[in-house]
């Protein structure tokens, strides 16, 4: 089976860490990039993943943290994180 391009050795391929770190996240799901001036909205699941991605790149630890807080299977959580990471990479090309 071919490796998921978003997943390398248990880590997720994301936008640069400094890009993720600088994002201002609101509880409403409003996300603002102070460098580019771009803003977008994410739903509750996206916000939960994005908050974790700002401090953690290890997929297993992110999935475990999500499973701890939400009623979700590890498989579904992993799929959501990888899918969201892809979206982020496209958004911050």
């Amino acid at each position: 089976m071919e490796k998921d391009p978003a997943k390398i050795e248990g880590a997720i391929v994301l936008p640069k860490p400094d890009v993720l770190m600088r994002l201002a996240l609101s509880d409403s799901g409003f996300v603002f990039d102070p460098v580019t001036g771009n803003s977008f909205t994410v739903n509750g699941a996206g916000l939960a993943i994005l908050r974790r991605l700002q401090h953690e790149t290890d997929l297993a630890r992110i999935v475990a943290s999500l499973c701890e807080e939400f009623d979700v299977t590890p498989l579904a959580a992993e799929r959501d994180v990888i899918e969201f990471a892809n979206l982020l990479r496209n958004a911050f090309k």
């Binding site: 201002a24 603002f32 102070p34 460098v35 580019t36 001036g37 771009n38 803003s39 090309k93």
Partner: protein, 358 residues
């Protein structure tokens, strides 16, 4: 300083029209916010219908002046006349086309006691569109390839020379239009050549997002109080209708290098495109405050107020740290103008608060 501590500043560029506003009214607003009634503001305009001239909360009086095309002596005579009626402490020009004349007149105005805080003629020339490529190279700033042309024939076979559409067609002094094909490019060439003369510049189109930076050069190479903005909505002429404050150290570094290379003195606006790779490409440098300068007051870095302090040798107030995430949205509204005020401007070239009340 005159009249018991009240400073009088004359501000031009009161043509605050919706699609392409001059910066004068926004500058006056900033000054009023900073100094309140301790400041007397004279609005200088070229047309009795310039909206800013009729906003009495910002302009204590309004005066018509001669167009730059009338020459330095005519403008000096008119400014002397206004100065005799209402002594001016500082002149703050806000329109590109005025700068060469105002710089030329600065020593004569200074002899009358009218200060200014302007670049030299050479500094002004080095940021002109036809020399911007050299400046960008010297300051190590990205700049889209540009060529000067004198005939619209260029567009007929430009794709064979490696110039693919869309292209940007620009006047040497002003105006820029994106052309998607030969017909649009030729039409843009003709319109720009007719209004601004030859040559006309053709620039590679940079796809991306436009960001602008405003600041003040202190004349020794330092950039003071930079404020950055990304356009969120534009008018039909491509001018900011809504924007948001941003802060990027990379853009700040670009601006510092440009200002240091020029040893720029006075207000400056640096326009860049952030291309799809996230790299900045220099588009234009304006020798004045931009029309969106009121945002500088919003983010705690009131640049016109800072300029006033610098011009008068005062210790500037502390500037707030960069504050990204503050938006502005411009809107149109009607100023109610008594006929007496309009009549006074039309007949005497001058209108005051008192006339407006009569």
């Amino acid at each position: 300083m005159t009249r018991a501590g009240t400073i009088t500043v004359a501000v031009t560029g009161m043509n605050a029209v919706p699609d392409n506003p001059g910066a004068g009214l926004a500058v006056a607003r900033c000054l009023r916010e900073a100094r309140g009634k301790r400041l007397r503001i004279l609005g200088l305009g070229y047309d009795a219908l310039d909206p800013g001239l009729h906003r009495r909360e910002y302009c204590d009086s309004a005066h018509l002046i001669s167009y730059p095309g009338s020459g330095a002596d005519t403008l000096f005579a008119r400014l002397t006349e206004i100065h005799a009626a209402e002594p001016i402490d500082m002149l703050l020009p806000c329109l590109d086309a005025e700068l060469p004349l105002m710089i030329n007149l600065a020593p004569r105005l200074a002899a009358l006691g009218i200060r200014s805080y302007l670049p030299s003629a050479e500094q002004l020339a080095r940021r002109a569109k036809n020399r911007l490529a050299d400046l960008a190279r010297e300051a190590e700033v990205g700049y889209p390839e540009t060529v000067a042309i004198t005939q619209a024939d260029f567009f007929r076979d430009c794709t064979r020379k490696g110039w693919s559409f869309p292209l940007v067609v620009k006047g040497v002094f002003y105006d820029a239009r994106v052309a998607a094909n030969v017909e649009e490019a030729e039409a843009a060439f003709r319109a720009i050549a007719a209004e601004w003369g030859l040559p006309v510049l053709v620039q590679r189109h940079v796809a991306g997002e436009e960001c602008n930076l405003a600041g003040i050069g202190d004349g020794t190479g330092a950039l003071l109080g930079e404020v950055m903005m990304k356009k969120r909505a534009v008018t039909g002429r491509g001018k900011a209708w809504a924007g948001i404050s941003i802060h990027d150290d990379v853009l700040a570094g670009i601006a510092r290098r440009l200002v240091a290379t020029l040893k720029w003195k006075g207000p400056i606006e640096i326009e860049v495109m952030r291309d799809r790779q996230g790299e900045y490409q220099l588009i234009e440098i304006n020798p004045r405050f931009p029309a969106w300068i009121y945002l500088s007051h919003g983010v705690g870095r009131n640049l016109p107020a800072l300029l006033l302090s610098l011009a008068f040798g005062e210790k500037p107030g502390e500037l707030a740290p960069p504050q990204p995430g503050l938006m502005f949205i411009r809107y149109a509204e009607e100023a109610i103008v008594p006929l007496s005020a309009f009549e006074s401007l039309m007949v005497e070239g001058r209108s005051t608060r008192e006339v407006a009340k009569s």
